[in-house]
Symmetry: C2
Subunit: 307 residues, 2 copies
């Protein structure tokens, strides 16, 4: 069951020749969810073969241009591609006030319905059969939202041998996968635990950009499998990081350790670092399982959660 | 005296992996002038080594996203680069109404003064010692402006041999370069034509995107040296071109021939053409001196005017 993270941009405020500003796509069982939409996101989607038709929810963390300037272009292009159905942009209400009029002007005749949904400070902002997406506060220079993607627990796995042995009718299998016992015609009960095996552990992924290092962030993402945490600077810019509302790679790793996550992905790099290996090395001094994000890189979240 | 055209983007409505949407920089004696600003323009400036500090005037032809969605990002980035002085965005008043509030929100603390200047339907919109920029109407699905960059005539060239022979004092040389005769102490007059050679012919460049083929466009750009004319389609889409307010490459070439220009540059290609050689071939059947624009290509306008 696909649960991938596609990095479209992992640079910071200024786009460079090397990095795009922030944007990523979570592909959950072929439904695409975009988190942040810096300039160039739409071209990266094309480059990675991610279909506009599968994207219906876009989450914007905060109102800095490097996280949202790709939105007018993306939404216009989706319209030209005859994307149908509904597209929902989840962003802070101030952002909606600023960007919706401009976007509506250019996207006045879309084949899809465009909806802007204000983000709450905290809570579930999306839910379907297999997934919930929650938001929680980050601590930046202006209101900023993190997001957690949580796969819902799967149903129990049926034991084929026992189903055949007890000759369980097909119409009862779904109830048993949901945890029901099986009542035989002779009145005896076969307990569910004889008929099923536990389901695969559900996987979760958290996105934290932009933020200073803050224990409350660690509390919010406690126990997620994979954490993307901004790491704008290396140790050499620790003082500036606080001042600018950002984190160092080492601080990102400290949050990962505090939260007990399984794997940490670094991103939102300052343009000052051509070579990112110091960020990786400093993070690994605090927490072992760290990867560097890079434009075009695709992370298999199931795989990272199992490692 | 530098007069270059830098192509930042020459695709049409949808950005592709191959082409950026419309944007170009005219470099006139190291002052940069941007015409249109599709998404990705700022990154292309970096890629071509064009300095933000030298850019003070941006002209937007019309209010379709592929000609202006790069503006918020560019203006924000210029602010981060501590660009000083004044930046003027010339665009239609409706565009200012739509985009200025959003841009002001994100660029609230720029080191430069940001000014939005409504474009008139016709006339001079910029002038300095060496250059004028005029606007004129194009014929698209909504109001659209073309631009002509005209180098001003240079001063006359002094003949060094004659200056020495007549022992002309330095303080009189500027007047002679402007056309004055030289009055000798003995009362005789040396006519200007003995002292000077004609100046280099001034060079002009016109930008026409987006537009249907229209004789009025040919009249507006009559006699310019180099013409950039949109050529969204090849002959196979001639009918659609009219319907969508665009031109074919052949039609662009017909306009070039009608206007008696020296060289034609094609651009604003539809994403349907991976191979642009049919557009070039069809244009050359109507007009011999044609070039294809391409991202990163730099045209020496002086050179093209002299060819």
């Amino acid at each position: 069951m696909k649960f991938d993270l596609n990095i479209l941009g992992c640079g910071s405020a200024t786009p460079t020749v090397r990095h795009n500003p922030s944007s990523q796509i979570v592909n959950f069982r072929d439904k695409l969810f975009m988190v942040d939409c810096g300039e160039g996101a739409q071209v990266m989607m094309k480059r990675l073969g991610l279909k506009f038709s599968r994207l219906s929810h876009i989450f914007i963390s905060h109102m800095h241009g490097d996280h949202c300037f790709g939105l007018p272009g993306l939404l216009s292009t989706m319209s030209l591609h005859e994307k149908g159905g509904m597209v929902t942009v989840h962003m802070q209400s101030e952002g909606i006030k600023v960007m919706e009029p401009m976007i509506r002007y250019f996207c006045d005749n879309t084949a899809y319905d465009l909806r802007f949904e204000p983000l709450p400070a905290q809570g579930v902002v999306y839910e379907d059969d297999g997934l919930t997406i929650e938001t929680f506060p980050l601590y930046h220079r202006l209101p900023c939202s993190g997001f957690i993607f949580r796969e819902k627990p799967s149903l129990l796995n049926l034991r084929g041998d026992m189903v055949r042995f007890h000759q369980i009718p097909v119409r009862q299998l779904h109830a048993i996968k949901c945890g029901a016992d099986f009542f035989k015609d002779d009145g005896t009960v076969v307990p569910n635990s004889h008929l099923t095996l536990p389901p695969r552990r559900p996987v979760s992924y958290a996105y934290c950009s932009d933020t200073v290092m803050d224990r409350r962030v660690a509390a919010s993402v406690k126990g997620v499998d994979v954490l993307y945490h901004e790491s704008t600077y290396a140790d050499d810019y620790e003082v500036q990081a606080v001042h600018r509302g950002h984190s160092t790679a080492r601080q990102a790793a400290k949050i990962a350790a505090m939260a007990g996550v399984h794997h940490l992905i670094l991103g939102h790099y300052s343009k000052r670092y051509r070579d990112l290996s110091p960020l990786l090395a400093e993070a690994r001094e605090e927490f072992p399982a760290v990867s560097l994000s890079d434009e075009g890189r695709v992370f298999d979240l199931n795989g990272l959660a199992r490692q």
